[in-house]
């Protein structure tokens, strides 16, 4: 496993209640692993805790990266080990150019321009049009997210955490983003994808379902999605839409069994 969480508990900042409750699962190197769950289930909290953000401290448990305990490391130290995060709504820092922003995380400062061009190409932004643009309001939400992804890719990390990359994007752009995730995977980078959308999650190899801070299941993604539907009581949606005539199908008997396990007839 590239990343392992062992009974990780994360409280609120005032430590009065628990957001993530003794969660354990692992992420295989080279995979796309989606964390799904409804709003408020603790997906983003978990992502920020893995990145090491100050307001998301692990109260109990351990986070291991390539077998190394990173629970008490700073964001910077984790980034240097090869973990990075592309934010849901990345900031617009007016005085920075796209070029400068992408080069900030480069480990090797030789051939910087080539690396920036390559990263922009991967996220389908034309380098000559974007390289000198400012990271300001003139970039659309989708463009800003692509620049954020390009900056993450240019770092050549081992693990990229993508925090709800689908938020605020139309379905045409969404399709493009899913292709980009596949390209990142081919670069031997592992993706931890935080999402609450089943369509974007379908690009994932594996998944983990969080429900009100609890870990429900970690498995191949379709099984995780099926369990999500069962917990949410979305049987018809599940049968008619999600797994209908797809490459990955469950027979009705199996679907009914999972729903029964969750108390849905």
């Amino acid at each position: 496993m590239l990343l392992e969480l062992k009974e990780v508990t994360i409280p609120t900042l005032d430590q009065k209640c628990v957001i993530i409750n003794e969660v354990s699962f692992g992420i295989k190197e080279g995979s796309i692993h989606a964390i799904i769950g409804p709003n408020g289930s603790g997906k983003s909290t978990l992502a920020y805790a893995i990145m090491g953000l100050g307001n998301y401290k692990v109260l109990h448990g351990k986070i291991l990266f390539d077998g190394f305990d990173i629970t008490n490391l700073s964001i910077t130290e984790r980034a240097k080990l090869g973990i990075t995060l592309a934010w849901q709504e990345p900031a617009r820092i007016d005085g920075l150019s796209v070029y400068r922003y992408i080069t900030l995380g480069l480990k090797d400062t030789t051939k910087m321009r080539e690396k920036v061009v390559e990263a922009l190409n991967i996220v389908n932004l034309e380098p000559e049009k974007y390289i000198n643009r400012k990271i300001d309001e003139s970039l659309s939400g989708g463009e800003r997210k692509r620049v954020e992804l390009a900056a993450a890719i240019a770092m050549e990390p081992r693990l990229i955490i993508l925090d709800e990359p689908d938020s605020g994007l139309d379905f045409i752009v969404l399709e493009d983003f899913m292709n980009i995730f596949e390209k990142i995977k081919r670069l031997n980078m592992t993706i931890l994808l935080i999402t609450h959308r089943e369509d974007i999650g379908m690009v994932a190899d594996y998944g983990t379902l969080l429900w009100r801070g609890d870990h429900i299941i970690t498995d191949v993604f379709p099984k995780v999605m099926l369990r999500y539907c069962a917990k949410a009581g979305l049987k018809e949606f599940c049968k008619r839409t999600l797994f209908k005539d797809g490459a990955i199908c469950f027979d009705d008997e199996y679907i009914d069994r999972i729903f029964r396990e969750e108390g849905v007839s």
Binding site: M51, L53, G54, I75, T76, A79, W87, A91, G105, M155
Partner: protein, 323 residues
Amino acid sequence: MKNIDYPTEILQSLEDYKIDFREFLPGHGKGAKLLLNFNKISGIEQVDGIILKGREIPNGIIADVLIKKGTKVEEPVHLCFGINKETGIQEIFPRIIAEDNTNVKIQAHCSFPNADGLTHKMFGHFYIGKNCEVTYSETHYHGENSGALVAPVSYIYVGENSVFENNFNLTKGTPGKVKILIDIYALDNSVVRSNVKAYGKNSKDSIRIRDSVFLEGENARSVIKLKAAAKDGGEVLMYGITEGNAPHCNGHVECSEIVLGRGSICRARPFIRATDPTSSVSHEASLGRFPQKWLDELMAKGLSEEEATNILIEAMLQEEEKF
């Protein structure tokens, strides 16, 4: 202008401001030039339509820049007022006149790379005629030691239908003790933009800026943007003043400051006054630190908190102005 023996170390700091210092040297570029080393004029290069004259005085120079009526030039006029000594007093008296229908950019650089107890004073007058577009950009570098005592005072008159942009940038090196006073008088239908940026980096740095625009003509408009950062004991005090004294004039003052590290002080005081009931003047001011999320985003790229902060300061002070 013939080749001159001008200390390159005076010009070198232009690179920090991303300005090619060779543009200031003889034989490079097509712009008019005036180079001063302490109280000696090292060279003057003229171009058609622009007259540069300098008269040496015991501690400096009286410099006249005359842009003749109708002159429109792309290449900036380059002025460099430098001293490569550690101490001394330099006094500059620039008189800049842009006659009607002119279009010119002036790039001035005041550089004291070895300053350690040095004083630089400027007492400038700008007269901008009707229908002009004039940009005056001034960069400063006061070395890395203890900075200098620098006190520039500028009185600027902007004529009818003219656009004047003032850019003052003191963000590299150690500024020292700096007192800047800028008074701009805007006549009918004129537009004034004034951008001042300063960065106090340690307890040796004390920067006081008063940037004022007096909207004296009907429909005159102005924006003052003051940006500063103070860290590790540095002190920055900024006054942004706008008075609306004419019908339908419109002005805005914006002060933003970032304060970092123990002992640092930032004070921003926008001051607005309207004496005409049809005028409109507004202000906004912000003081504080960068949002934690911004720092986190940069730190997730492997930067330390200090490196991330420095990048954000650099970004704030380099931000291009949009109007």
